[in-house]
Symmetry: C2
Subunit: 206 residues, 2 copies
DNA sequence: GTCTATAATCCGATAGAC
DNA sequence: GTCTATCGGATTATAGAC
């Protein structure tokens, strides 16, 4: 295929895989579905990625790197621009997930991919996550601790877990909230972020 | 097979399926793995359950019936014994899940199966759960609304979603909280419940 | 890099003997 | 209720032409 195409075969496979993985899970998605949606030949995925497992890893890494970088950048801006305030820190954690979730090309589905990764008690993926993205959580923990110096470290980590759980599930549309007809997806996600920041800020301060 | 066996073929299939679903997800688990672990013939699962989809539903029913009944009973007791108080209602929601999670007879695996259910976005299962257990959530919503009459219905449902997400996440030990060595599993779970009730109570009141 | 064709395996489900 | 045997189909992955 011409390498100057707007979306290369490789990128189209990644995009299609991301959408389908989010919709049907890793194991629930076949490479044939992926290549069919990407409109590439079935053999292309093995040529470009070697195996299905490696494709899964690449899909995951691509979005996770982006989101982590965004979270850290917004955290830095929050701490610099609103010193001592909790809500901007929580927003820096929540909003990049939101932004990714409403991104047009497959990002819409990514949060659910993350949720699945956490559910993989499989450990190799969990270890990968902890090794590569654990420092992001630690940065947030440090920033929140500065806002709320009376909270014990143990309590802080419990509450970060609660936030992560609520965020993951809400963003993935897992819950019973039905988006009212007429409300756009973007407005729905922004509402979710606003509500979650308020809910968890109160929780952290309790 | 002898019907007086301590664990019938049917129960062994349910138990094996539960463990494997928790570990590998629904689509990631084959009926052959299930029947192999249960040490029954591959044909038995279709004889007893009809289909894989129905087996998934029955794995849920076995635990959810009991947990839902317990939640409703504790909710009734909470409303009667502590009228107008929010925390007992939240405890009635959280603690039966906790009890299930620390039940040594497979309950712990089931908690992770719940997380899988959300993560895999299995529509037929979601419908099954909504049809059979949706009324439990509605009862809790009504009880909380009476405690906090100023909160809009929309806001209430958002916050219930946050609670459910945080609960599922925490109960399945997905988070970064490591149980300190020396702390028993029971104490760890009770701590989780206490922290979550406090966190979410503040969130609901915000 | 992209294709066709196919190997090798695994899947869920069922028929039919016992 | 439990078994063997098998059907029809889908899966990942690869070999080899272009």
């Amino acid at each position: 295929m011409a390498s100057h195409a707007p979306f290369s075969t490789k990128d189209r496979i990644l995009g299609a895989a991301e959408e389908l993985f989010a919709q049907h899970g890793f194991t629930g998605t076949s490479l044939r579905q992926v290549t069919s949606r990407a409109e590439v030949n079935i053999a292309a995925v093995n040529y470009h990625f070697g195996s299905k497992e490696n494709l899964v890893n690449e899909v995951f890494r691509r979005r996770m790197d982006e989101m982590s970088a965004q979270r850290l950048a917004e955290l830095e801006a929050a701490v610099a621009g609103h010193p001592g305030q909790l809500e901007p820190i929580l927003a820096a954690f929540v909003e990049p997930a939101l932004a990714l979730a409403q991104d047009r090309c497959g990002g819409a589905a990514f949060v659910r991919v993350i949720a699945r990764a956490y559910a993989e008690k499989n450990d190799s993926l969990r270890k990968f996550l902890s090794d590569h993205y654990g420092h992001v959580l630690r940065e947030f923990a440090k920033a929140i601790a500065k806002c709320l110096p009376d909270m014990s470290k143990e309590e802080l980590y419990w509450r970060l877990d609660f936030l992560a759980g609520a965020l993951t599930y809400a963003m993935a549309d897992f819950g019973l909230i039905k988006r009212p007809t007429g409300t756009g997806e973007k407005a729905h996600r922004e509402r979710a972020a606003r509500e979650l920041i308020r809910f968890s800020a109160a929780g952290f301060r309790s």
